[in-house]
């Protein structure tokens, strides 16, 4: 699959795929991210997907819908998806604009996302944490 210019990158980490979005994506690039991820989930037999959206200062309704669909599609292919790194004002804008975010799994940052995938309902607070890392 043609990755094109590096607007996002998909890394494999054990059983998980980590997709870092580097800059604002337009609708077609969003769709390409979706396509790439679904392909790679199968290729790498991934159990989880983390999408890091920290650099985005806007997540519009199309992006929200794409992420929601993406999560559902990867689930059908056997992997859970967690969105990480949503900025405070982005989160606020998303709910203010009434976007349907109910089914999206989220975590604070990459580290929390990994932990979320490892221990979905009982996170381990005794583990010392470090500064969040963004792609």
């Amino acid at each position: 699959m043609d990755a094109g210019p590096a607007l996002f990158s998909i890394l494999r980490q054990g059983d998980y795929l980590i997709a870092s979005i580097h800059t604002a994506l337009d609708d077609s690039q969003m769709l390409r991210l979706q396509q790439d991820l679904i392909d790679q989930v199968g290729r790498h037999r991934a159990r989880g997907v983390i999408i890091d959206v920290a650099p985005l200062d806007v997540i519009d309704s199309f992006a929200t819908a794409t992420l929601r669909n993406l999560a559902e599609m990867t689930r059908l292919r056997g992997a859970r998806t967690v969105i990480v790194g949503i900025q405070p004002d982005v989160a606020y804008a998303m709910v203010e604009l009434g976007m349907n975010t109910a089914t999206i799994e989220t975590a604070l940052d990459l580290e929390e996302g990994l932990r979320h995938l490892n221990r979905p309902r009982s996170p381990d607070p005794s583990r010392p944490h470090s500064v969040g890392l963004f792609g």
């Binding site: 969105i83 990480v84 949503i86 900025q87 405070p88 004002d89 982005v90 989160a91 606020y92 998303m94 709910v95 203010e96 975010t101 109910a102 999206i104 989220t106 975590a107 604070l108 940052d109 929390e112 996302g113 979320h116 009982s122 996170p123 381990d124 607070p125 005794s126 944490h129 969040g132």
Partner: protein
């Protein structure tokens, strides 16, 4: 103290023969009359304030001091026609007496009483000559009214300033986001939530979630008297936005009134995780984070 200065005596002695065409002399004459009878008039005034049950919050000593200085300022403004000094004094006075619960009607009341007391003394003095009395009053009344106006406006302005200041203080103080444990924040909401405050509160919470890497937030609304539909929807959005940041929200302290309001206005509360009181909320949050709090055996033995 009565001023028995020779010039004052001379003035009042000269009164019948004074040049009545000289309008400009009226106010200075009036002023020296008021200065001359300062003690008696001030006491008259204080008596009437007492009779009207005004300024009950002040001690007699304070009353004496304040009435004296109000009187002096009053006469000075009559003399100079400059209200700036009085404005300054009135603002000062307001600053002192507002915290003691002095009301607007009292302040306006005492100034009007002083105006009446002084007017009566003028009647008394000039009652033999009605044409002259008229002219004295023509000179006195606008000045006196301007003073009453100035004092009232200064007082109200000062009050408004205090109110604004307190509103700012409340706004800043009332939305603290408190870290209680690693990854656990408490947001106690105290006082009336309007949509502006609710918005501000959400912003602060979201930023704090990132700063403290919080996983659970307990929002305690025990101190909120009531919520309306806007605010309730805002709470729901706060919960959603926090979840997008990866934190779960527990709402505690929903009063019977608020519970009724929320259900009656039909806010979608399915996503709200509510627990009766703050203690229960904290315990639930600790469970979610995997903490177990146990009481040490040796303690309190």
């Amino acid at each position: 103290m009565t001023q028995d200065s020779p010039s004052a005596k001379k003035l009042s002695a000269d009164f019948p023969t004074i040049d009545r065409a000289d309008e400009e002399q009226l106010l200075p004459q009036l002023v020296s009359h008021l200065r001359e009878h300062r003690t008696r008039l001030r006491q008259d005034w204080a008596g009437r304030i007492d009779g009207a049950h005004l300024l009950q919050a002040m001690t007699p000593q304070e009353m004496a001091a304040e009435t004296t200085s109000v009187y002096d300022n009053y006469v000075e403004v009559l003399e100079t026609g400059s209200v700036e000094a009085l404005q300054h004094y009135a603002r000062d006075l307001s600053e002192r007496i507002i915290p003691r619960g002095v009301e607007t009607h009292e302040v306006v009341g005492i100034v009007l009483l002083l105006r009446d007391v002084l007017a009566r003394s003028l009647f008394e003095k000039y009652q033999g000559d009605f044409a002259y009395l008229n002219r004295v009053l023509d000179a006195y009344e606008p000045a006196a009214n301007r003073i009453a106006n100035t004092v009232a406006v200064s007082f109200v302005e000062e009050r408004e300033r205090v109110i604004r200041q307190q509103q700012d203080a409340i706004r800043e103080l009332s939305t603290p986001v408190l870290p209680v444990r690693e990854r656990l924040l408490i947001l106690p909401i105290i006082g009336v939530l309007d949509s502006e405050r609710a918005r501000q509160l959400t912003e602060q919470l979201l930023i704090a979630i990132r700063t403290h890497r919080a996983q659970v937030v307990v929002v305690d609304i025990t101190g909120a008297p009531d919520v309306d539909e806007t605010v309730a929807n805002h709470l729901v959005r706060t919960v959603d936005a926090s979840r997008l940041m990866g934190a779960s929200v527990i709402i505690t302290g929903v009063s019977p009134e608020i519970a009724q309001t929320l259900v009656t206005i039909g806010v979608d509360l399915n996503k709200m995780n509510t627990i009766g009181d703050l203690q229960g909320g904290l315990e639930a949050a600790e469970r979610m984070l995997g903490y177990t709090v146990t009481r040490s055996e040796e303690k309190g033995g």
